[in-house]
Symmetry: C3
């Protein structure tokens, strides 16, 4: 019997957590776009200095560092380092048939701490706060993957 | 009943779209390699300046910016920001049991616009063209993840 | 019948390989953290220069290049370029119902070469050694995705 169906409440919890995290990560591109439009900079390609309707007065500094855009990119990068592995570890974890409360704590706990981490990073909180909000998510990924490994090895 | 089998034509469409996108993203590393060999630069690690059979005449500029190699890396980075989330959102979308035509439009539409986006980026088209070819794919990811979220929440 | 259950020994092999690779990639963040603490640098955000209990004597060079931290980030980046696509291609490959020995060779071969690649990159081996250990994994991803594509297209 497959655990990967919506008849399995643990998989339903996974789909909810995973889809929120996908929406979060995919939205980061749009935040970067918004910041590039607001600050007219933080571009990356030489062709972005061509005169176009959206960039009527190009100048070379537009390719240089731009803190608001770079911040959005750093947050995005942090998502790329974490969320794909959450998505994969969560799926493997569902297959190990965990109890529903454990699954909900881990999956929803991941979502909540990642969203708080985003707010802390966006508002430039000190590193200690960012780290405290990043750590639970990383431990959840490591725990889910370790459990999947142990269950599979002993199968 | 699991939707994640090749007896389900929606899943077949997903496997086709997903495998093409994996081939595309994994090929970007090879494009970067080709450009590094052609332009003998765009390297990243100090040890890449050691004299070896493949780099018989090393010089420090090989670690500096190199537009053809950097362009390949930027396209690759754009893939990393998008394709893993397409792969995950598409899988969750299949589980929501969409109609086959809707699934084919979204999954194959994603593939087509991503391949066109690649050609536009590689040939250094202006940002407006790149953006126009990136946007449909991003909206498809957001739509598929939103639908998965709504279906799971109402389950 | 779903192939994605632990009753399928090919899927068991996938879960073992995938969970090891997730643990590997997720551990890279911790290696970067360890290097940042050891070398008190390689930071990225302006707010990381604020005086805090973990950074009692901040100075601007902490935001500049820092080879040990940057090396950890480069290895991590290489993981992001490869492992998510291994995770996805491996899952699609399982669905094509390969023989168990073929699946074990490809899945465990990927894990072994990626771990050796990590050791080569961490110890700054020349590019030729790094490339020789990266190439098998990339070819395994391309092979698994190609097989999934061919099986799905002919379905």
């Amino acid at each position: 019997m497959s655990q990967l169906t919506l008849q399995n409440p643990v998989f339903v919890a996974y789909v909810i957590a995973a889809s929120i995290m996908i929406l979060k990560a995919a939205s980061m591109s749009w935040l970067t776009v918004v910041q590039m439009i607001r600050f007219k900079g933080g571009y990356r390609s030489p062709e972005d200095l061509k005169k176009t309707p959206l960039n009527p007065a190009p100048h070379p500094e537009q390719l240089g560092p731009n803190e608001p855009v770079d911040r959005s990119r750093r947050i995005h990068m942090n998502d790329l380092e974490n969320i794909p592995f959450f998505l994969a570890a969560g799926l493997l974890f569902v297959v190990t048939d965990p109890s529903l409360p454990l699954a909900q704590w881990l999956l929803y706990g991941y979502v909540v701490t990642r969203l708080l981490h985003f707010l802390a990073y966006l508002s430039a909180q000190i590193h200690e706060i960012r780290a405290a909000l990043w750590t639970p998510g990383s431990l959840i990924i490591l725990f889910m993957a370790s459990r999947a490994l142990m269950v599979a090895v002993s199968h």
